[in-house]
């Protein structure tokens, strides 16, 4: 048994930490809330080879696995770096299953083209229907309707809301349904009938979202089958969970540092059990999330039938951990922690928005229950 990162994976993580560390991402996150420009990290991602992380080597990718993608996502999350990998990586995982011409896939791997994943949620033991994010409310929207034509093309109709990284993407990989089940369709740059509206009222400026509408939009049918499309949905969950882990680590480190230097009643506040126990709870949740991410990474490769449960558990743990850690870092800092000038609110904003994306953490909890209870 070896349930730890390999030396290569440790290097990948360190390289990602170094690369993000060279950019003032946290300051940029605050400035972006007031209309500032976010640093463009796509060239960084291309240079590091993250864009082709999940594409096989034959097509110019690195042929790595979910765990490697998660390690990069965790480092992005640690410093709130706005790098559109949450959209790109699941899209390339789907496109890598075939159906796309080699040239386009190669460009996705190199990052010359950037893709976004227009996700659909696989049905579960309660409701078998594939659904997508609605604009608002608890009722999920039906997945876009796909009508296959000749020549491997298809016409798609439908709307998907709150799609990460869709704005400005060159390629959209959308999951819809036809009479036989889920189908993935790829749309190239400027495809007719595809409209991407930037979501307004941005709570976390580092996480651009878009509403995507397909109106008799013509795209190319991809080869990925139901298993691959399920896997992509849970891969996106695992990446969000990984981003959360990095942010939790940062919140904990900042909380601990402040708890050692801030004194009340003649003692460092970290000496009080009320603070100490809360911070050990952050640590407990952090390590639980890490273990579940390793589980998800391992299942992605070696135990595909458990990947849905593993990624859902990681998403549930990571979302709750970040919410808890972000509230703690504010609380440990006292009133100043809730001011605009402080960094803590930026992590809090990340926590609140991330927990609601792609079905939300509540849906991940329900999915895990369904996976385990249905056996």
């Amino acid at each position: 048994m070896n349930f730890d990162l390999s030396d290569e994976q440790v290097l990948l993580r360190e390289a990602a930490r170094d690369a993000f560390g060279r950019v003032r991402t946290v300051e940029a996150a605050r400035e972006a809330l007031e209309g500032g420009e976010l640093p463009d990290l796509w060239p960084t991602a291309r240079q590091a080879g993250w864009t082709g992380l999940l594409v096989d080597e034959e097509h110019g990718g690195a042929g790595l696995g979910a765990i490697d993608a998660m390690l990069v996502a965790a480092e992005a999350g640690r410093v709130l770096a706005s790098v559109p990998l949450l959209g790109h990586l699941p899209a390339t995982a789907v496109a890598g299953g075939g159906g796309l011409d080699d040239e386009t896939l190669g460009k996705l791997a190199s990052g010359e083209l950037r893709a976004a994943y227009v996700a659909a949620r696989p049905g579960d033991d309660v409701d078998p229907a594939w659904t997508v994010e609605p604009r608002s409310g608890r009722r999920r929207a039906p997945a876009p309707q796909v009508a296959r034509g000749g020549d491997g093309l298809a016409t798609v109709n439908g709307t998907v809301c709150w799609v990460p990284d869709a704005v400005g993407a060159d390629v959209l990989v959308a999951v819809g349904v036809d009479a036989d089940g889920p189908v993935a369709v790829a749309f190239g740059p400027g495809a007719e009938g595809v409209a991407v509206e930037a979501a307004s009222g941005v709570y976390d400026a580092t996480r651009p979202l878009g509403h995507v509408t397909f109106e008799s939009a013509c795209g190319r049918v991809l080869a990925a089958g139901e298993d691959e499309l399920r896997r992509a949905w849970f891969l996106a969950h695992a990446l969000i969970a990984a981003e959360s882990l990095g942010a939790v680590e940062e919140c904990l480190q900042r909380s601990v540092a402040y708890a050692k230097e801030r004194y009340t009643f003649g003692r460092a506040i970290g000496s009080y059990q009320a603070i100490k126990h809360a911070l050990t709870e952050v640590l407990r949740r952090q390590e639980n999330t890490r273990s579940l991410l390793y589980y998800a990474g391992w299942a992605y490769e070696d135990k595909p039938e458990e990947f849905a449960a593993a990624a859902s558990a990681a998403r549930a743990a990571g979302g709750a951990a970040l919410d808890f850690a972000a509230r703690e870092v504010i609380s440990v800092h006292g009133g100043i922690g809730a001011t605009w000038e402080h960094d803590a609110p930026l992590f809090f904003r990340r926590a609140q928005l991330s927990r609601r994306l792609l079905g939300g953490t509540g849906d991940a909890v329900d999915r895990l229950a369904g996976e385990l209870l249905a056996v």
Partner: protein, 404 residues
């Protein structure tokens, strides 16, 4: 990242599995109520059988009757035993924690005398550390050992939460030998024959009604001059060794505790209405997240152990996750099944009653969080009133405060 056996481990697993299949008919039933003496005798025979096959104390050095193997081989045995549904050894505390302490600190004579019968289950051991007034603050124990002119010792005091004391041959006991020293400095570890004159053992019944533990009284018990394990007044270091092996045992054994999401899922899924109920699913999904995290944190811990790393205090967090996850599971299962879950014959009734006590066992949640906060996160300790003063003065001070 690989959860599969190496070829070497796989071969070992095959061997262990075949042995258990051949010998399972000789295994006693997992312990229930009824004739305890007969059950203990059968369990003892089972340990001897396992020991003779080389499956007890596999991590002990060969010179002491062990196999000199790594902790992962122990895990393979634990997993195969759990898979076959047969009981493990009778004296897990002795073989897992107390024997290794004697190996680390005992004299050659002690190792010669005690280790082999312990391994074979001929002499079961118990751990005599906690007292009514010293649990989390273990160095605050008051059981007193005084040395006579001839070098022999006289022992008086009380221990509590003592598993297996009712049939143990020996106990490893921490006693105060110098009350005028600082509390950690005046302690010594002893081997105590449980049949010595002046030893009284009383069962301590738990919420379930079962006596899981004992309290043990020592009334002027005489111990031989060579009863001390490790240096006189150096008992705290010996105790820390035992506690380290306790963490190792818990770390290597987290799979076997039975607090598994799939086990609880089966109980809930037996009610198809519950399995589709959103509230039940939300509660179950939350606790399943915790228990899955426990399982895979356990694999991380085992990986570290197999590389020769010794688990630090953070390993104690697993106990917090396990206990609270299992409490949530018992609570949910009782909500789903209704009063039937609390029937004394139900496994859930036992689980529900057992867990409140487990919350304090092996360190309360609060003391574990203090330790992790200080040793792992590096947060400053609470101010202490017991630093730098003799234990005898500390006790007087405490009594004074209570009186005022």
């Amino acid at each position: 990242m690989d959860l599969n056996d190496t070829p070497e481990q796989a071969a070992y697993r095959t061997e262990v599995r075949a042995w258990i299949e051949q010998n399972a008919s000789q295994a006693p039933a997992t312990r229930g109520r009824g004739d305890e003496e007969a059950a203990v005798a059968a369990h003892r025979a089972w340990q001897r059988r396992l020991a003779e096959a080389g499956y007890v104390g596999v991590t002990w050095p060969a010179e002491h009757g062990g196999q000199g193997k790594g902790p992962l081989q122990q895990v393979v045995i634990n997993q195969e035993i759990a898979r076959a549904g047969v009981p493990g050894i009778l004296d897990a505390i002795g073989v897992g924690m107390l024997g290794p302490t004697i190996i680390a600190h005992g004299t050659d004579e002690q190792k010669q005398r005690y280790l082999a019968p312990m391994l074979h289950g001929d002499e079961v051991w118990c751990q005599l550390f906690s007292e009514p007034a010293a649990g989390s603050d273990l160095a605050g124990i008051q059981t007193r050992a005084r040395q006579a002119e001839d070098g022999s010792w006289r022992l008086s005091g009380q221990k509590v939460w003592t598993t297996n004391a009712q049939f143990a041959a020996y106990g490893l006991l921490l006693a105060r030998t110098d009350p005028d020293a600082h509390k950690h400095k005046g302690l010594t570890m002893f081997v105590v024959p449980m049949d010595a004159a002046g030893v009284t053992i009383r069962p301590l019944r738990q919420i379930s009604g079962e006596p899981e533990f004992n309290e043990v009284f020592f009334d002027d018990v005489e111990l031989a001059p060579d009863a001390a394990v490790g240096p006189v007044n150096g008992g705290w270091g010996v105790a820390l060794t035992t506690l380290m092996f306790e963490r190792l045992t818990i770390g290597a054994g987290s799979e076997g505790m039975g607090y598994r999401a799939d086990r609880f899922a089966a109980a809930i899924a037996s009610d198809p209405v519950a399995a589709k109920d959103p509230e039940v699913r939300a509660r179950f999904g939350e606790l399943a997240t915790e228990l899955l995290a426990l399982r895979f944190t356990g694999y991380r811990l085992l990986t570290a152990i197999s590389r020769g790393q010794i688990p630090g205090p953070e390993a104690g967090m697993g106990k917090i996750t396990a206990v609270n996850g299992a409490i949530a599971a018992g609570d949910l299962i009782a909500d789903v099944l209704g009063p039937e879950a609390l029937d004394p014959e139900s496994e859930w009734s036992y689980l529900i009653s057992f867990l409140p006590g487990l919350k304090s066992a092996g360190g309360t949640e609060e003391i574990l969080r203090n330790t992790v906060g200080e040793r792992v996160l590096g947060l400053p300790p609470e101010p202490r009133l017991d630093k730098g003063i003799p234990f005898s003065e500390l006790r007087a001070k405490e009594r004074q405060e209570v009186a005022s």
